[in-house]
């Protein structure tokens, strides 16, 4: 098209400059250093061109740069992850095209790539604020297209029109968002190479300690019914059964299950739980809750006790932990229901031996201590209770800064130092239980939660990470024992904050975290309110899934049927279309202001259809003459109409007479219309 060969105006160039910076700046996390360097060069070059200081770069230079950067990216793709490499490639293309732009088509290509980059930004930034920010960036990007047409228009005009178009498009987008079916991922996308956060799949002494220094959010939970008390909030994440004297690790039995492709996995959540016999002696308690997990780039998810979920892509493993099919790369909402079931009333010999295995000749002092418990208490439950009590009887101290331990780490902790935190106590307890022949394993997860009373949800932060022990007892299955609760009961009953001073734990590294506002009641209130806005955003927008969609549609439409949805879309499309058309000035609701003219013209138009059109210059009287000749049947009526019309239009009359004539004219017009219509019908009948 010859229109596209036009040069790019300065107005457009300025918009492009703004867009470029607006789109690239939120991607700072993904941009590699040298991509950034090339972008900077491109932007400065473009500014130079804009100011008329530099010439456009020759084509070969741009091509050479493009090839070189693509090659470099291909080389480091493994290192930074395929997704990041893709984003960087797009950014480079964006920047290079930007200086090489010559015509309209180039500008349009740059804008389309710009939208893509905005979409990629959404993968990492999903808060309400980022969304508003990126909406503005989207508007700016669209303004570039408008500026192509607004050569001389000023900046404000273009910005106004761009915002207007985008904002007017929001309602329809919202309705489509509500209605369009949610699909499962069509193919696997490359995982992101991002540092994992939160719990790790092996635990050493000191690992959890690092987490207690983090004030980052781990996940949030909302209970649909009654919520458990704080001391019941043991969010299980990873179960570790192998202890080698240094660290706890998952048993290969479980970790091999993780590697199974979701399609072939024989462990479907429903099947597992249905096999569990209910605990007959107790009434079953069930908790239904939803969890919004923050991105951890790991597959672990969280649940209370025996957690079950119907999500397609979350599996329940043999150790009753939840595992997502893909690493959690963005906020993830899932529904869980927890039952107080017996966890595995019978275990195989293999599992039992796994949970009894101990490294040979390690920690002799602890072994000796455990043997004494075994001698004293023959009944396993009594023995375990005695071990728990031991921690309170002896001067054990709960601290986030435990003294160093040596080769026999449990001995050093249990006998010598007597100071440590959850991992130390849990390890020691599990070790002692195994020594006395009771299967025991270490569970890591989170304990507690901060209740936001405005929105009614629990926030679980990284510093709430915890480790405890599950012991297998015949007929009771795996039972939870938390030795930490013996030393620091407040830690479990009221939460982490009741026991530790934030300033020395999770605020040490993040003095500006919003959690620091907790001391000030007013600021804390503000923090809680902002947090609940973010919570609703996460639940209703980021976590808007099939179930939520069904719920909302049911609210609006009652019974959701396909026809109803289609009618709903059509109606909203029409209403929105009309509203936009009205605001654009296409439709005016006020009809032709002169009803007299209307009454006269409608009759004239009907006659025009019969082949006698009134010419533009033709006066009413002249037209009347022609009508009388052509249609003698309506001659008298039309003459009357013409007279009323002329009188109203050209004579000076008082208000009363105007009213009378006006009524007469409209009546006459109506009468004539019917008459002409009748005649036409009669004519039609005659011809057919």
């Amino acid at each position: 098209m010859s229109g596209e060969q036009q040069n790019i105006s300065r107005h457009t160039l300025m918009w492009l400059l703004i867009t470029n910076i607006a789109i690239l700046s939120p991607l700072y996390q993904q941009i590699t250093l040298w991509t950034l360097a090339i972008c900077a060069i491109c932007i400065f070059w473009r500014i130079g061109i804009y100011l008329g200081k530099v010439a456009k770069p020759p084509k070969w230079l741009v091509t050479a740069l493009a090839i070189a950067s693509a090659a470099t990216l291909a080389m480091i793709a493994k290192q930074i992850g395929i997704l990041n490499a893709m984003v960087n490639l797009l950014i480079l293309g964006y920047a290079l095209k930007y200086i090489e732009m010559r015509n309209r088509r180039d500008v349009q290509a740059v804008v389309l790539v710009g939208y893509f980059l905005i979409a990629f930004t959404f993968i990492h930034h999903q808060s309400l604020l980022s969304t508003l920010h990126l909406l503005i960036v989207t508007i700016i990007n669209s303004c570039v297209l408008i500026s192509l047409f607004h050569d001389k228009a000023n900046f404000i005009n273009t910005a106004k029109l761009g915002s207007k178009i985008l904002l007017q498009s929001l309602p329809l987008a919202l309705i489509l968002f509500l209605v369009l079916p949610r699909l499962a991922p069509l193919w696997m996308v490359p995982p992101q190479n991002k540092a994992q956060t939160g719990l790790s799949d092996s635990v050493r002494f000191g690992d959890i300690n690092e987490l207690t220094r983090s004030s980052a959010l781990a996940f949030r939970a909302t209970f649909s019914g009654a919520a458990p008390t704080n001391e019941q909030l043991y969010w299980r994440a990873i179960v570790m059964e192998d202890y080698d004297g240094k660290s706890w690790q998952q048993n290969p039995r479980i970790s091999s299950q993780q590697a199974i492709e979701p399609q072939t996995a024989n462990m479907t959540p429903a099947a597992t739980v249905n096999h569990l016999p209910a605990l007959n002696s107790r009434t079953l308690r069930q908790f239904d809750y939803s969890i919004i997990a923050e991105p951890s780039y790991q597959r672990w998810l969280f649940g209370l006790d025996v957690a079950n979920t119907q999500e397609r892509d979350i599996r329940l493993l043999a150790d009753f932990s939840l595992l997502a099919d893909r690493p959690i790369e963005q906020k993830r909402l899932y529904q869980v229901s927890s039952l107080e079931h017996i966890m595995e009333p019978k275990i195989s010999r293999e599992v039992a031996s796994t949970n009894l295995a101990l490294p040979q000749t390690s920690n002799p002092k602890t072994r000796a201590l455990a043997q004494r418990f075994a001698l004293e208490y023959a009944e396993p439950k009594a023995r375990l209770n005695a071990m728990m009590a031991y921690f309170t009887e002896q001067p054990y101290y709960y601290t986030l800064r435990p003294p160093k331990v040596g080769e026999q780490q449990i001995d050093d902790f249990l006998i010598t130092n007597k100071a440590g935190f959850c991992v130390h106590y849990a390890s020691a307890f599990a070790f002692m239980a195994r020594v006395t022949g009771i299967p025991a394993r270490l569970v890591t997860g989170y304990q507690g939660g901060e209740l936001n009373s405005t929105a009614g949800y629990y926030s679980i932060y990284q510093y709430m990470a915890h480790a405890w022990v599950e012991v297998w007892l015949a007929d009771e299955g795996w039972v939870r024992f938390d030795p930490t609760a013996m030393i620091a009961p407040e830690r479990v009953e009221q939460g982490f904050d009741a026991f530790f001073d934030p300033q020395t734990s999770y605020l040490i590294d993040n003095p500006f975290s919003s959690l620091a506002l907790r001391d000030n009641p007013f600021l804390n209130n503000v923090r809680m309110r902002l947090a609940s806005v973010d919570y609703f955003w996460s639940t209703w927008v980021l976590g808007f899934n099939e179930q939520k969609q069904q719920r909302v549609l049911k609210e609006i439409l009652g019974n959701v049927t396909q026809t109803k949805v289609i009618i709903f879309i059509i109606i909203s499309l029409t209403v929105i279309g009309l509203a936009i058309a009205y605001s654009a000035g296409i439709i005016q609701f006020s009809r032709s202001t002169d009803k007299h003219l209307n009454a006269y013209y409608t009759v004239c138009n009907m006659l025009a259809k019969r082949g006698l059109a009134r010419a533009h210059h033709e006066g009413p009287q002249a037209y009347n003459l022609r009508v009388s000749q052509s249609f003698p049947s309506i001659d008298a009526d039309f003459t009357k109409l013409t007279q009323y019309f002329i009188a109203l239009k050209y004579q000076n009359m008082d208000a009363k007479r105007v009213k009378r004539f006006s009524r007469l004219l409209i009546k006459q017009s109506r009468w004539l219309k019917i008459k002409i219509l009748k005649q036409r019908l009669a004519l039609n009948n005659a011809t057919t």
Partner: protein
Amino acid sequence: MQKHGDKLTRQTLTVGWNKWLSRRLPASKQVTLSHKSIFILPSGFGLAWLVLVVLLFLLGTNYQNNLIMALSLLLLSVFNTCIIYSYKNLSGLTLTSKQQTGYFAGSPIYYPIQLSSKQQAVEIQCQFKGQPLHTLKTVTAQASQLLVTVNNPHRGVNRPGRLKIESRYPLGLCRAWSQVDLDLSQLVFAKPINDPNPIRFISKPGDDPQTSGKYVTGVDEFKGLKEYQTGEPLKQIAWKQWAQGRGMLTKEFEQPQGSPMWLTLDENSHDIELALSHLAWQTEQLTAHNQVFGLTLSGHSIPPNHGQKHRMQVQTQLALFPRKTLLKAHQ
């Protein structure tokens, strides 16, 4: 066979489309665009935009990212909004044709079109089929005139056909267009080509073609008044004017030199067009030298005369001479 069939169906389609168009948008000297006359389809960029929407939706689905999906749906909705805006840009645009005549074949001819719009319209493109594109940056209620070009017109009556009016405002996603028939036609004269041969004319032998038919001072026709110079015959003095006190003036008379010339067409010439071009050139030459001449063209003749009006008559006659190719096509 297949190809021929395709061509035939395409031809019938085009004919049908044109028929439908002429019924929907009949020819008129003034046209105001409305819902009846505006067509909207996505432009190439608009299609690319829709592909982007689909890609973003897939990206959002695969990452299960609602915000990316929302962005994709927002862009889809923007497309919908742009349809309305592009309609608004053309609707209410009034086009009026202004008549203008007198162009020679070979050089481009221009059709003056007046555009106005109640609401401001932005970047309106006008074009005759296969002809150069004209762009008006803004059209307001105040009429602005555009000269729409037709390149290389042929001799005869030029009918440029429907004028295509197009706009891609505001985002370039939609192509809103209309094809209005402003009932335009213009006479295109034969292109004057210098005739190296002496002028073909019918007159008395011995007359010089360079001077024959040229007006010289004579007695036949009144030419005008001029200042009296001593020695001029008294019977030529304009006494009436003298009586009115306007001074001594003499009446001047002129008469054609020799007998008038007749331009003729050699109908057996193998290149009728060239012959006509030569005649056109001769007409221009004779008029420039103020010579009297007539034209006989396939039995039709224009009596000898001179001046601009005569020139137009002759050129019109030459322009309207049936084209041989057309004749052939009709046979």
